[in-house]
């Protein structure tokens, strides 16, 4: 670089006020949703001057708050919010006397019908370890702590090439891989839960709410 400091600044480098709007994608979306967009599209596809396919599209896209300000979607808003009012339905279904020991986001590796990670919230309770997805509600995987015969941490290389610790839970149904925000804490909680389980038949797990746990292990 041999820039002569005394040389006059080139015209395009001279500092002048400009209206430089560096907007990110999120900013753009925010503005669009806040203001609202109305599309009015008529499209006719013709071949050899013969119209063949017609599209007539009217669409309004906006944040619901904007919609309400313009008097749109009031019925939907009340109806949908009314249907979701029972908040208890979103909670994880627990057995009688079952207590949550640990809750963190995570997931489990589904083996059948295809192999995929299913994200949810991992719970360790006083009796079970389960992966729960609140929306749409589904118990993705569960195992009774008294059935757990092995818990170990297993390092794995992820798709992106990063190292991750997975928690391996072995039950009579098979071995399931769990992932969690804090694998070490999940591992420790599971270890503690499975080692201090009450001996004898006192802790028979009640009827499990759904049977997915049985086939998830493969």
């Amino acid at each position: 670089m041999s820039t002569d400091l005394r040389s006059p600044v080139a015209p395009e480098n001279r500092m002048e006020p400009t209206n430089d709007l560096r907007a990110s994608l999120s900013d753009l979306l925010d503005v669009v949703l806040d203001k609202g967009v109305y599309f009015d599209l008529d499209l006719v596809i013709t071949v050899a001057d013969v119209p063949l396919i017609g599209v007539s599209l009217r669409a309004a896209v906006a944040g619901v708050e904007t919609m309400l300000e313009h008097g749109l979607m009031q019925g939907w808003d009340e109806q949908i919010r009314g249907s979701g009012r029972s908040g208890a339905e979103r909670e994880v279904p627990l057995l009688d006397g079952e207590e949550i020991v640990l809750r963190m986001s995570g997931g489990h590796l589904q083996e059948v019908p295809y192999r995929t990670w299913r994200p949810g919230i991992v719970y360790v309770t006083s009796r079970r370890v389960l992966v729960w997805r609140p929306d749409p509600r589904e118990l993705l995987w569960q195992g009774a702590l008294r059935d757990v015969t092995g818990v170990e941490l297993r390092p794995e290389v992820s798709v992106g090439g990063a190292d991750r610790l997975r928690v391996c839970v072995t039950t009579p149904q098979g071995t399931t891989l769990l992932t969690a925000a804090a694998p070490q804490r999940l591992h420790d909680a599971l270890r503690a839960g499975t080692l201090t389980r009450p001996t004898g038949g006192a802790a028979t797990p009640g009827p499990v709410p759904r049977g997915e746990g049985d086939d998830a292990g493969g």
Partner: protein, 105 residues
């Protein structure tokens, strides 16, 4: 360019996660508007906040699980640049049209 299964998977996942992340941010700002709008009950506000928090954690978790944090950030930067140029073009059309015959930026 070599396309193997891993890089394909990586690219697709990055794309999907990035889109979800952008949508999640839009949802978050709309949630703030709704809460400020004053129509939601306390219970609804709390549920909304918790659900968005869970969603945020889930996305972070997915990124961690698949090692996508860096590639998602890259893609977001790229998208932001595209949007930034677009908005800039719309706001300052004069700067993008140099003298006729001159090269565009």
């Amino acid at each position: 360019m070599q396309v193997d299964e891993t890089s394909l998977k990586n690219g697709l996942l990055t794309l999907v996660v990035t889109l979800v992340e952008v949508i999640e941010e839009a949802l978050e700002s709309q949630a703030i508007r709704r809460i400020e709008g004053g129509r939601l009950t306390d219970d609804e506000q709390e549920r909304l906040g918790q659900a968005l928090l869970d969603l945020d954690e889930a996305i972070e978790q997915i990124k961690d699980d698949h090692g996508l944090t860096a590639s998602v950030a890259d893609l977001r930067r790229g998208l932001d640049d595209v949007v930034g140029d677009l908005v800039d073009r719309l706001a300052n059309p004069a700067r993008w049209v140099r003298e006729p015959g001159g090269e565009n930026r």
